[in-house]
Amino acid sequence: MIEARGLARTFRTRRGAVVAVAGVDIDVAPGELVGFLGPNGAGKTTTLRMLTTLLRPTAGSATVAGHDLATDPAGVRRKIGYVGQSGGAGTDCLVGEELVVQARLYGIPAAEAHRRAAELVERLDLTGTERRVVRTLSGGQRRRLDIAMGLVHVPRLLFLDEPSTGLDPQSRANLWEHIRSLHAEHGTTLFLTTHYLDEADALCDRILVIDQGRIVAEGTPDALKRRVSGDLVLVGSGEPERVAAIAERLGQVSELVVAERSARFRVPDGAAVLPGLLRELDGAGIAMTSVEVRRPSLDDVFLTLTGRTLRDAEQKVSA
């Protein structure tokens, strides 16, 4: 569905050339739900804008939905849907009218455009909003309208740029449900960018991690997490040194840290070592206040891959 080779973009500014995307290879198969994860300023949106014909690459090539990006941008446009970061519905237009106009811009005849608008309104829980002015919609409704607009021509490939940014947790969960069903029930190939780890983790089959204009890792959320050296085990106890001494004997332990009232370390399979560990600690008469096994998060992955946490990476960009 997407095949990009060495796609790159350099911007010219007064202070010289700035490399936004330094040559990325992207392969997305039909039906996949792929996330493009990285801190703000990593090059996610620039890449997306190149893949959707909004920005001309300065190097590289790509085929998107069967059409060459450089030689047939109009062909690409006919086949893809795009939901930009700032939405795209006119704030002082009516919901229903915007959907119909959008469909007609793709050359869909009026009657069919109305039928599709009605169908999408229902599918995205926007029933009753057709005669409302876009400005009066809630954040979540607005976002669902944006997605509906991206679907009027039934694209096989939909791009979503930071779909849940600015939404409250409930609207966010609801939006994820819609994205999942779009993928599961309609088989739409989805390519989304996000700087939220939980979003990439919760939604995507596969994740491409981008940092400073380069793809630094790629894989399923689980595979990426496996690249971090194991699960984090936290034992709360008044005698953390003794806990640590016993933990060290487990084998394959790394990053052992003794804090004031706890000890923590990483092992490849936290759940499997736990019973034995507890037995030994109990046998040694060590009192425990809590025990916790934490699967590695994508934040840990990002840290392992780039040496920085996502938050640090973003602060550096905004500074």
Partner: protein
């Protein structure tokens, strides 16, 4: 054919937006009506007493010029609505559809033309209450000219809007352009009154020819060199600004 349908779609959408906030259409007409009521009476004794004025009474001199002013000012600020649509992602959303970039511009410009011609008709009707006398064919030709001016200025306004992308920058930019254009057009007072150097300078302003043509049309000289020249200049400027506007809609960073 497809492009025409697309222009129609974009036009309808823009027109609905204007009709939903008709207050702006009203505000747009207030300014020329103020000129008519507060400046027209001032002009009346001047026209009678001053040599150098074109033939006709004060309103035959003032109203055609006010139509051009309406065309210039009304459409020149059309770009503000586009900046708002740029910011809310509407422009980008439409640019990812296969719609022709010409339609994205002309659909909007056509809305401005329709709004303007309606305002022009209203202005002429009000002027008739004040005692304007002009042949209907002359008025019709004058309104066609104003429509062409509206295409030219709105296309330029959209092009500038997409280039600067901020209201704070667009306002001063438009003012910097429109004030010299206004002063050198002979809208307020005919350039026939001007000293030779100022008259020569005004000949560099395309709108000066349009104002001359409008005044001639209101005199009934519909088939005349002045009207022909004014129309040719207006069409030429419109062709240039439309080409510029379409190019900015094509531009990748738009």
């Amino acid at each position: 054919m497809t492009t025409l349908v697309q222009i129609w779609l974009i036009f309808q959408r823009a027109m609905r937006q204007s009709l939903r906030n008709p207050v702006w259409v009203i505000i747009g007409i207030v300014q020329p009506v103020l000129y008519l009521t507060l400046f027209g009476p001032l002009l009346q004794p001047l026209v009678a007493a001053t040599p150098g004025f074109p033939p006709g009474d004060a309103y035959q001199v003032l109203v055609p010029a006010l139509l051009v002013q309406l065309g210039m000012f009304g459409s020149l600020f059309a770009g503000f609505s586009l900046i708002q649509e740029y910011r809310t992602g509407v422009v980008e959303r439409m640019r990812v559809t296969p719609v022709s970039r010409t339609a994205l511009l002309l659909g909007r410009s056509m809305r401005d033309v329709v709004v303007l011609v309606v305002q022009g008709i209203l202005l002429t009707l009000v002027a008739m209450l004040f005692g304007l006398r002009a042949p209907p064919l002359g008025i019709a030709v004058a309104l066609v000219l104003v429509a062409v001016v509206a295409v030219a200025t709105s296309a330029a306004s959209y092009a500038m809007a997409l280039l600067v992308k901020s209201e704070e920058a667009l306002g001063p930019l438009l003012n910097a352009i429109v004030v010299p254009l206004l002063l050198l057009s002979g809208i307020l007072l005919p350039m026939t009154l001007a000293p030779a150097w100022l008259f020569a300078l005004s000949r560099l302003n395309p709108f000066a020819y349009v104002v001359d043509a409008e005044r001639a049309a209101f005199q009934g000289a519909v088939v005349s060199g002045t009207v022909g020249l004014g129309l040719a200049v207006a069409v030429g400027v419109a062709a240039l600004t439309v080409a510029w506007g379409v190019r900015t809609f094509h531009r990748e960073s738009a």
